[in-house]
């Protein structure tokens, strides 16, 4: 009996997460201005790095991890601003607070939305950088995808919480870099290192410490936010 009640609770929770995610995606697909900005930013950043590094740079593989993650991070910064600040600006935050949805479900829904937004950017950044900067990853594609997914998801968690915090400040989007950048090195450094190793043909064993560190970041941030997010959302 208890088990079925638990199962129902989990199913309700996941349905709430899905609703929040769907709401934000619908809103984004209606306007599309963020997606367009992200795609343009992805292409422009690759072009800028190509101009900076010069044509056919022999050391391109050394710079690739930094190029990719800096572009992904700045795409995130574009996306972070809207996650919660948009709710505040449009006056829909009170509706979100009054809805019979747990704050944790709201946070996870918003994190998944940020993750999808950043992943769309990464889908453009990675292949276009391979064409523009003329390089290939010398290791298993699945490993590259796994490192990208884990790193982007961690950045999305930071982005969602930072956006939730920043919506209360008077400087809004201006405060986002100041608040998020110090929280980011814990996941950015391992992601850059793992990508660098993969660019030169590393195996799963070789990037295991970085993966563990990123998983540790995910667990620790999730645990703290699970407990504290309620205080952020409700006045």
């Amino acid at each position: 009996m208890n088990q079925s009640a638990d199962f129902r609770n989990i199913a309700d929770f996941l349905a709430d997460v899905w609703e929040i995610l769907l709401k934000d995606l619908r809103l984004e697909l209606r306007k599309k201005y963020e997606i367009y900005s992200i795609i343009i930013f992805a292409l422009l950043s690759n072009l800028s790095f190509a101009f900076a590094l010069g044509p056919s740079n022999p050391n391109v593989l050394k710079f690739i991890p930094a190029v990719l993650w800096m572009s992904i991070l700045f795409i995130g910064m574009l996306g972070f601003t809207t996650v919660f600040i948009r709710e505040m600006d449009k006056g829909s935050l009170d509706g979100l607070r009054l809805a019979p949805i747990s704050p944790q479900a709201i946070l996870i829904g918003k994190t998944l939305y940020t993750f999808i937004l950043m992943s769309v950017g990464a889908v453009f950044i990675v292949p276009s950088s391979m064409i523009i900067l003329n390089y290939i990853f010398n290791s298993d594609v699945l490993l590259v995808v796994m490192v990208l997914i884990l790193g982007i998801f961690n950045l999305a968690i930071v982005g969602a919480i930072v956006s939730a915090l920043a919506m209360y400040s008077e400087s809004r989007a201006l405060i986002i870099p100041a608040v998020s950048l110090p929280l980011i090195p814990g996941t950015l450094i391992p992601s850059v290192l793992a990508t660098g190793k993969l660019a030169t043909g590393a195996s799963l064993e070789m990037i295991l410490p970085e993966i563990q560190l990123n998983l540790g970041f995910l667990l620790l941030m999730s645990a703290v936010l699970w407990v504290t997010f309620e205080y952020v959302l409700y006045d």
Partner: protein, 222 residues
């Protein structure tokens, strides 16, 4: 009267610490007199970590109790933490130049302290951007917790990262200080002096914050 006694004790401890650092402690075998900056560096590093730990604990206590006193503790200690971590970074750079030949070596502790400094600088900027007192206390408390727990993650990341970079430029023998009793005693007294100085500055900062809150209340009522 009680306050005067404590001020006198703090002053005496710090004068004694300065005397021991610059006059009493013998020159170090390999680095000579230049190693004395190490005492200022270590004691300020200890105080900055203590200050940020107080901010972290006060943030948790604020969220649990909703008592604004804890928010004032968190704000006061974070301001002082920034000050002492800035001293740590400056003296650390001088120490690194003497010991390793470079001002900045990307040592994991050095990097983690820089991130800690930036995290709480962001925390203070964030506090200043929220005018409602209760809201500021609640939201800053969450950031105070997040900033503190991100430090070990940044430290371990920096450990991985640092292994990619060449570290010492001078022979490693120069990196080790001879742990002679006078050096240990000087370190203990300078750490005690810095901790007492922090306690006094914490009291002053707290009083200033309380005064600001009282003025804001009076203006609000008027």
């Amino acid at each position: 009267m009680k306050g005067q006694y404590s001020s006198a004790i703090i002053l005496a401890a710090n004068v004694l610490a300065l005397y021991m650092i610059f006059i009493w402690a013998p020159p170090e075998r390999s680095l000579g007199d230049s190693y004395r900056v190490f005492f200022l560096h270590t004691s300020s590093a200890w105080v900055s970590y203590l200050a940020f730990a107080i901010t972290f604990i006060s943030s948790i206590l604020y969220l649990r109790t909703g008592n604004l006193r804890w928010d004032l503790y968190a704000a006061s200690s974070s301001v002082l933490g920034i000050l002492f971590s800035m001293i740590t970074l400056i003296t650390g750079s001088i120490w690194a130049k003497l010991a390793w030949g470079l001002y900045w070596n990307w040592d994991p502790r050095e990097t983690a302290t820089l991130i800690l400094f930036l995290a709480y600088f962001g925390y203070i900027s964030f506090r200043m951007a929220i005018s409602d007192r209760d809201r500021r206390a609640r939201i800053s408390a969450v950031l105070g917790i997040l900033a503190f727990i991100s430090i070990p993650l940044s430290y371990f990341s920096a450990v991985f990262w640092a292994t990619l970079h060449p570290m010492p430029l001078l022979p490693t023998a120069r990196l080790r200080l001879g742990v002679e009793p006078p050096i240990l005693l000087t370190l203990a007294v300078s750490t005690l002096g810095a901790t007492l100085l922090f306690a006094w500055m914490f009291y002053l900062t707290l009083s200033t914050y309380r005064l600001i809150d009282n003025v804001e209340d009076s203006v609000g009522r008027g």
